[in-house]
């Protein structure tokens, strides 16, 4: 099994979101659904859009599932012949690659979980698409709880 390197990758967004009104980091419950009104969370160390630090790679067993993740533009970290381009996906109905538009690769038992970073540095996944998490690890653990032992399947978009 391949292991991601520990190199930290600084994400340079193509479309710098200058002028984004960003609230200061606040003490944060785990999900947006639980957050106080008008509050939103940012992981410690996260900076405003256009300059987020990449979260650390992770690799652990959680509730009997193997969860791992690493920045999508880590070279040579991925098994299975996937190549992330770093380019953001358009709408390729029916042919969305597993890492299209992704900043971070997350896998549960070697199956890709599609994830996405929000402008405020929080994260969502295809399994929990309407609530935000501070880190990909928290998102992966939430997906494990949601899956209740089920396997992820390749994304079908058309």
């Amino acid at each position: 099994m391949s292991r991601p390197t520990r190199r930290q990758v600084l994400h340079g967004s193509a479309a710098a979101l200058a002028g984004a009104a960003l609230a200061a980091p606040v003490a944060f419950a785990d999900t947006a659904a639980a957050r106080p009104a008008d509050g939103h969370g940012q992981a410690a160390g996260d900076r405003p859009s256009g300059g987020h630090e990449m979260p650390e790679p992770f690799d652990e067993m959680y509730e009997g599932r193997h969860i791992e993740g690493w920045p999508a533009d880590e070279e040579g970290a991925q098994s299975g012949g996937h190549h992330s381009s770093g380019a953001h996906a358009g709408h390729h109905a029916g042919q969305a690659g597993p890492h299209d538009g992704m900043d971070f690769v997350v896998r549960i038992d070697n199956d890709d979980l599609h994830v996405m970073r929000n402008a405020d540095g929080t994260w969502i996944s295809l399994v929990n698409h309407y609530e935000t998490f501070t880190t990909p690890r928290a998102l992966a653990r939430a997906a494990v709880r949601e899956l209740q032992g089920a396997d992820l399947v390749p994304v079908v978009t058309g």
Partner: protein, 272 residues
């Protein structure tokens, strides 16, 4: 004029016609095309890239068009069927008639979240999960567990009071009415309802649960209510915005309809 009613006001016949039309679209394969489309946009819409269906100003007109298309598909089965809306500020519990067996069926069972009653239960054999993010093939719900409370009327009113439609950077970090109703900011209205229902509703393939349409129908009604309250506030942005659908830009996947075309819902239906 075609009227979209509150689901709580539907007659038994209206409920039956709606359910039967949904099941027929499922049987013919047309229903799953709507799920696929939604999932594709959920994956493709990004805060710093092209964004159309979600986390962007066109969230509201895109879903208005999406619902119209679905409603027209229902009417191709039974011409009298209209989408009903679910006012979750009023019908806030799993005991609502919405979740009765003659309509959408009930909560998921403990353990695996499987919906075991009503027309969309796995046991009915009429509601397979073909477009799915994991291996489970049965409709699931977990009402009120992902988050305990649905939004309140007071929270809705606070968002309706916002007079600016949307604001730069036109994404999930924006201030303004659109992002506050979508839920990435503020009291969290639309997103929270997805989480409250649980099951497939929390995923990119959320239209797997027919309540998706009733939820979005209410979001659409709230947009109409907001327009009535703020007649001088128009859709924003109005031109030359990269990656974002401006007022007169066409929207994917249709490419023949603009937000401007969608602003007046009374061309298509009214709300009862």
């Amino acid at each position: 004029m075609a009227v979209r009613k509150n689901q709580a006001d539907l007659t038994a016949t209206e409920k039956r016609n709606f359910v039967d039309a949904v099941l027929e679209l499922k049987r013919s394969g047309r229903y799953d095309e709507f799920i696929s489309t939604h999932n594709a946009f959920i994956i493709g819409d990004t805060d710093d890239g092209e964004r159309t269906g979600h986390r962007s100003p066109s969230f509201l007109p895109w879903h208005r068009r999406f619902l119209l298309q679905f409603e027209q598909a229902l009417q191709s089965v039974t011409p009298s069927v209209m989408l009903p809306y679910w006012d979750w500020t009023a019908d806030r519990t799993p005991r609502s008639s919405l979740w009765a067996d003659d309509f959408l069926g009930g909560d998921g069972r403990s353990g695996d979240g499987r919906v075991t009653s009503g027309p969309f239960a796995f046991g009915s054999g009429k509601w397979p999960m073909n477009i799915r993010v994991d291996g489970r093939t049965f409709l699931r719900r977990s009402l009120g567990t992902g988050v305990r409370e649905l939004p309140t009327r007071a929270e809705v009113d606070r968002v309706l009071a916002m007079s600016v439609y949307d604001a730069a950077p036109w994404n999930s970090s924006s201030d303004g009415f659109r992002n506050n109703i979508e839920g990435w900011r503020g009291p969290n209205l639309h997103n929270r309802v997805h989480v409250w229902v649980g099951g497939q509703m929390t995923t990119g393939a959320s239209p797997n649960d027919p309540v998706f349409w009733l939820h979005h129908c209410f979001i659409d009604k709230l947009w109409a209510d907001w327009q009535g309250m703020h007649p001088k506030s128009g859709y924003l942005p109005t031109g030359d915005t990269p990656d974002v659908v401006d007022l007169h830009d066409t929207m994917k996947p249709w490419n023949d309809v603009t937000p401007a075309d969608m602003l007046d819902h009374t061309k298509f239906y009214t709300y009862g």
